[in-house]
């Protein structure tokens, strides 16, 4: 499912709303999730999962083309941990 399919599916689930409201809602939700992570915040959606930042320490890397050593600075990367309901629903049913 792509972003535009998600918008279409949500519009279908909310027939009382205008299609452009579903589009704007998806934009507001995704922008807010992104902005929250970009400012160092955590996201916790019960039954779905949580997003947080993971720290990557600085390391010595190499330019793959020239082979030169380069210092890669410390950084943070977004990380998702699936919640209980999502974990159970995607796992194989025969358990």
């Amino acid at each position: 499912m792509t972003r535009s399919e998600l918008i279409a599916n949500l519009a279908e689930r909310h027939p009382q709303l205008l299609a452009k409201d579903a589009e704007l809602a998806v934009k507001v939700i995704l922008d807010t999730l992104g902005d929250t992570l970009a400012s160092g915040g955590r996201i916790e959606i019960r039954g779905f999962g949580s997003f947080a930042l993971n720290y990557r320490p600085p390391r010595q890397g190499r330019n793959p083309k020239s082979g030169d050593k380069v210092q890669v600075p410390a950084k943070y990367v977004p990380h998702f941990k699936a919640g209980k309901e999502l974990r159970e629903r995607v796992d194989y049913p025969a358990k």
């Binding site: 949500l10 709303l17 704007l24 995704l30 807010t32 992104g34 955590r42 998702f80 699936a82 999502l86």
Partner: protein
């Protein structure tokens, strides 16, 4: 820094989209439910500008009960992985580097 939850997302849909409180709450709920359903059906979810949710099939592997040391196999399972988009990764790197962890 506080944690973002469904309640704050619903408030934003009320303020910025003009949905009423009940519609806003339902929209947040169906947003995540739609993603869960797609993943449950084995579909990848690709949200441009944010990231992709993918499924990974893990084979059975040997495990151990850490308390008793008893060997028990960890069954094959399917798990969800999230891969942030280039845009999200660079937003996080630019706005939030060299500072203390969240």
């Amino acid at each position: 820094m506080t944690t973002l939850t469904k309640a704050e997302l619903a408030d934003l849909l009320f303020e910025q989209v003009g949905l009423n409180k009940r519609e806003a709450k339902e929209m947040v709920e169906t947003f995540f439910e739609e993603i869960r359903q797609q993943l449950e059906q084995g579909e990848t979810v690709k949200l441009s500008g944010f990231g992709n949710f993918q499924l990974r099939d893990k084979p059975q592997r040997p495990g151990r009960n850490p308390k008793t040391g008893e060997e028990i196999p960890i069954e094959a399972r399917r798990v969800v992985t999230f891969h942030p988009s280039q845009k999200l990764k660079s937003m996080v790197e630019q706005n939030y580097s060299g500072t203390t962890p969240a």
